[in-house]
Homo-oligomer: 198 residues x 2
């Protein structure tokens, strides 16, 4: 028999992510979250020990999704160009399908908000960014990309993609795949005329 705990626990993290996204981590109160769940705020502490723990779980889940998907692609796709493209698609799709989680993680994960688990979460972030950078380096060493600082190239890629939390809407015209394809063409070939082949 499935205990009710796990169901409510999931609803708790969903509601937290939504409210942290809407109001910010500090401005969203435990009372807000409790009301969204239809319980009293004291009941929340049956599931977690502190407000920080909610943010921690959200950030760890986000990084976990990204890293797991990336590792799967890296081990299964041998062609460096295709691998990098797949990583971009993966990142964009996960972001679009988990907009609240990504928004909170990318905007609210700061030393002040994170407190004791800052190092832990920032470590996960650096690990994932390292995977992206390595994929860029592989593509360059395979002769696909020109000589360039892969750290900066990675920042450019992450910037394009992560900035989507500022404007992406599921109701928009373009699908996540189409948006990913746009970033891919722009990153590989640029915007200049006479270069539009992928």
């Amino acid at each position: 028999m499935e205990r009710k705990t796990n169901v409510t626990r999931e609803r708790l993290f969903e509601a937290s992510a939504r409210l942290f996204q809407e109001k910010g981590f500090k401005a969203a109160s435990m009372e807000d979250i409790a009301q969204a769940l239809g319980i009293r705020k004291s009941s929340i502490y049956y599931y977690i020990n502190s407000k920080e723990e909610l943010l921690r779980e959200i950030c760890i889940r986000t990084m976990g999704m990204l890293t797991k998907a990336a590792e799967g692609i890296i081990t299964s796709v041998s062609d460096p160009e295709e691998r990098l493209k797949r990583l971009i698609v993966s990142h964009v799709e996960l972001l679009c399908e988990n907009l609240d989680l990504f928004t909170v993680t990318l905007r609210e994960l700061t030393p002040t908000n994170a407190g004791p688990f800052w190092e832990e979460t920032v470590g996960l972030r650096d690990k994932y960014e390292g995977l992206i950078r390595q994929a860029i380096r592989d593509a360059r060493e395979a002769g696909i990309l020109r000589e360039m600082d892969e750290k900066l190239a990675g920042f450019a890629l992450l910037g394009m993609m992560n900035w989507m939390i500022r404007w992406y809407s599921p109701n928009g015209e373009k699908s996540p795949r189409e948006l990913a394809q746009f970033w891919i063409e722009l990153f590989f070939n640029g915007a200049r005329k006479g270069k539009d082949y992928v």
Copy 2:
């Protein structure tokens, strides 16, 4: 004779921007700001009427700098390609030289934090983004850029540049000009090998 007011007023906005950047708008208290200035927190209200007003001033200054610089470039540079490149350099340099202001504006300006002045500030943001988009459109119509969604291209450009608040340090190896040049080459020509001319 210059009254002390204006000097302290400037120090107030500087300290606010620094603390909002460090702790976030909600987490940074008026007491924190007062201590940074060496005065009591009640004295702050001699200069402003509310905490929100501090955020408003920071955001308006940021948008004002960007828009003013952009308008100057647009009216003085006629070549569409050169104009777009100059806009990128301008944006990057302003961001790097006013890291606190930009970080607070890009991260803390939300409907919840802004409250009554949300529409005002978001209007300024949209106005500036409109200038960038128009510059992209001009370059495309001049035959410099290929057919593409200038809204998405604008988001890509703004994403690359604005994401810098997450990693740029004045102590880094690259200068703001060099970083701007990197974005320019990447945006125009892409990262693929055999395309590295600007």
